[in-house]
Structure formats: C-alpha cells, structure tokens
Amino acid sequence: MTQELTEVSNPGETTGSSATLWLGAVILIGLVILGWLSFVVTEADIELEDTVRIMYVHVPVAIMGYAMFTICGIGSAMVLWKGSQWWDHVAGAAGEIGVVFGSLTLATGMIWGRPTWGTYWEWGDVRLVTALMLVLLYVGYLSLRSTTGVTGEPSRAAAVVGLLSVCMIPVVSRSVEWWDDRTLHQEATVTKLDPDIDGLMLFTLVFGIVIFMLIGAWLLIHRFRVAHLETELELYGVALAVEQRIAETTDVEAALSVAGNDRKDES
C-alpha cells in the first residue's frame, strides 16, 4: 500500500507523457526561434525604437491571460451546472496560470512603459488599472480555493467567484475603445482585417502568440494533472485511514471475543 502511495504521489512519473514531452520540446525550440526573430531578424520601430521588441512577449502573455481567465470562467460555470470535479480542476489550474500570465502582462507593460511613457505606472490609463484589478480578482479567487473544498468535491464558492470575475474580462479588453480618451494604449492592431503593422513584425507577433498558446496548454495539462493527483492522494489517504480504523475495530472485537471465550473456559 505504501508503494502504491509513492506511485500516486510521484509527479515525475505521472504528470508527464510522451505528448507533453514533445510539446515541451517544440516550445523550447519555438522560444529560441522567437528570440531570434525578436532580437535579430526584425528591425527596431521608427517611433518606439528597440522597445517595440517587448511587444512580442507582452501581447502574447496578455492574450493567454485572457484565455486562461476565460477557461477558468467556463470551468466555474460547469462546476455550478454539473458539479463536475474535472471542471473544478480545469478552473483552478486555469486561474493559477492566468494569474501568472496576467502578472507577466503587467510586468512587461511596466518595463515598456518606463522608457516610452516615462513612468512605470500611469493612473490615467484605464487598461492598465483594469488589468491590475483583474489580476487582483483572481488572486482572491486563488486565496478562496486554497481554503475551501471538501476532498473530492468541487468548490461552488470558488466557482461563483470565478464566474463573477470573468465578467471583468470584456471591460479590460474593450476599455481602450470604451474610454479612448483615458488610455495611452493603442487600439487593436492585429485583430483588424488590415493590420497597421509591418509584415515581419506581424509574423513575429503571431508566432509569439502561437508559442505562448502552446506554453499555456502545456502548463494547463501539467497543473490539471497535479490537481487531479492531489485529490486522488487525499481520497486515498482518507480511504487508508478508514481502512485502518476498521482494522483496529476488528482487532479489538477479536481480542474481546478471545477474552470472552477464555473466561467461559475458565468458568
């Protein structure tokens, strides 16, 4: 039984598969190519100069942040609808990875903002402020997840927060258009039919988005498996404890029975 427990709790053997191994290899090669495209192949922008290169990471991580928070929202809705543990793991994993991508978005944005806007933080920029609020909402969601939940049961409280928090995503993504006089961010350039961006720069940006999508998928698969194994381990621990209690009770009953028989024999 101890051996089974060790096998279940060994993430090195169980969260990876040949598919995720290949995916990881593709990601590593892709990151090298992205670095080469960003720093060697593409040229500096006329206005933004070399600072434009951070966009090849900033935009992909921002998109992946939205994607992960959306997956978290879908997972939360499914938990409330179906009470599914599987979706609870998906929501939790996506929420965690979304916070990582969201924080990276803020960090890369601030690093870019210092030389471009002359400040790390601009209160007048509505997208910056709403993006921070979005990350803080999901930090709260993760705090709640860490304290709630019965072993083997999805947390409906966390699901409600996940579903409510997802309402903030359209506010952040559309803020540039809704409050166009209160932002330093430019409007969408890539998603338009006729993007206002040089061909090679556009290719690098799209390549970066694809690579970070793969990173997101890779992280999601692994984090989901870790969450699944954690639950399995907890349930296994509970089952083991119950089994031990039953065995103890049986031993006591057997001992009492033997003692009773001895007393009868003596009399």
């Binding site: 709260g140 705090s143 304290t147 709630t148 947390s155 409600v160 927060v161």
Partner: protein, 223 residues
C-alpha cells in the same frame, strides 16, 4: 418573497438594535477613519475638500466589510444558517432580506459620516438630489455584493481576512462610480454625475440578480 425577505431583514435589524454593534462600534469607527484621513493628508483643508468623495467611499467600504462580517458571524456562530437552510424560506428571499438589513445599517452609518465629512472636510453638498440618488444606488450595490461574498466566506476558517481580499476588488467599480457621482454632487469636478449614478444603479441590479441566483448554492456550502 417580499414577506420572507422582510422577516429576515427584521430579524437582522432586531439583533443589531439589541446588540447596538452598528451604533456603538461602526459609528465611532467611521468618524475615526475620517479623522485619520485628515492626519494622513496633513490636515490640509483644500486637499481634504477635493478628496472628500473618495475618502467618504473608502470609509464606507471599510465599514461595510466589518458590517458584512458581523452580519454573517451571527448566522454561523450559533448554526442559525442551518436553521435557515432547513426552513422553507427561498434563498433569494434570505439574500434580499440580509442585503436590505445591511443596506439600512450602511445608511445609518453614512448619516454620521456625512456630518463628519461636512464638518471636518468642509464639503458642500451642491446637488442634494444627485447626492442622495448616488448614495442609495451605491449602498444597494455594496449591500448586494457584500451579502453574496459574506455567505461565500461564512463557513470558512479565515473568513475575516478572505472577505476584504475577495470583496474590495469587486466593489472597485462601485467605488469609482460613487466617487465620480459625489464629485459632481459636491461640486469638486465637472463630470456628469447622473451618468455615473446610472452605472451605480446598473451595478446594483447586476450584483442583486447574480447574488439572488447564487445565494442558494453558496448557503448549501457554508457550514
């Protein structure tokens, strides 16, 4: 539904009247925070007058967090929430009742806070109708969201610390809208306060509808 909500609201308010928590603790608390803001801003009357709207609503949110914690601790401590769950009261009615009781307490606290802001910060209410409309809409929004998050953390060990982490980001849109509406009502900024008041009303409806829908599932989980 209205009768059931009234029963719950009356119960909560009766408990508050008898324990006098809102009056004896929250009222001094809001006045104290208003005074501390004065110290923090170097007792500069011009700055305090200009920042009065924001300081007012920050104080209301701090008081709301305490009031919400109190509102649900009385349910959890003596397992009253189990009785509510076993009763034939509909969860949306319980939600409406608790939100209404919380809103009444927040209004009572704000009456004291308004006096403090007018006296200490030299604030002048130039548009009383907008001031009242924004205060009512924001209070309903805070009460609805607060009731939803209150039941959400009710059964948890670390509810005192979790509640502000979860609730304050959600109330950020209310804080922004209420501050802008008050800026107009106090004559501190040339903004359209009524459009911000409309946003406050929309937020109150959203939190109210979502809370009414989710309250039942959350009550089942809070043990």
């Amino acid at each position: 539904m209205i009768r059931d909500a009234y029963v719950i609201a009356a119960k909560d308010l009766r408990i508050e009247l008898r324990s006098r928590t809102a009056l004896s603790q929250l009222a001094p608390f809001v006045v104290l925070v208003a005074v501390l803001f004065g110290f923090a801003l170097n007792a500069d009357r011009t700055v305090l007058t200009e920042a009065a709207s924001g300081l007012y609503w920050i104080t209301v949110l701090f008081a709301a967090v305490l009031a919400i914690g109190r509102s649900f601790s009385i349910e959890v401590d003596d397992s009253v929430i189990d009785m509510l769950r076993l009763s034939d009261l509909e969860p949306p009615s319980i939600f409406a009742g608790k939100a209404a009781a919380l809103a009444v307490q927040l209004v009572a606290i704000q009456l004291i806070l308004i006096a403090a802001v007018v006296i200490l910060y030299d604030a002048r209410i130039e548009d009383p109708l907008l001031f009242i409309a924004a205060a009512v809409a924001a209070t309903v929004g805070v009460a609805a969201a607060g009731t939803l998050y209150g039941v959400l953390v009710a059964g948890l060990r670390m509810r005192e610390t979790l509640l502000p982490i979860l609730l304050l980001p959600v109330l950020a849109p209310v804080l922004i809208s209420a501050t802008r509406a008050f800026d107009d009502a106090l004559g501190n900024a040339a903004v359209n306060g009524w459009s911000w008041c409309g946003l406050l009303a929309a937020l109150a409806v959203f939190y109210g509808v979502f809370g009414g829908w989710a309250f039942g599932a959350l009550m089942e989980e809070s043990r």
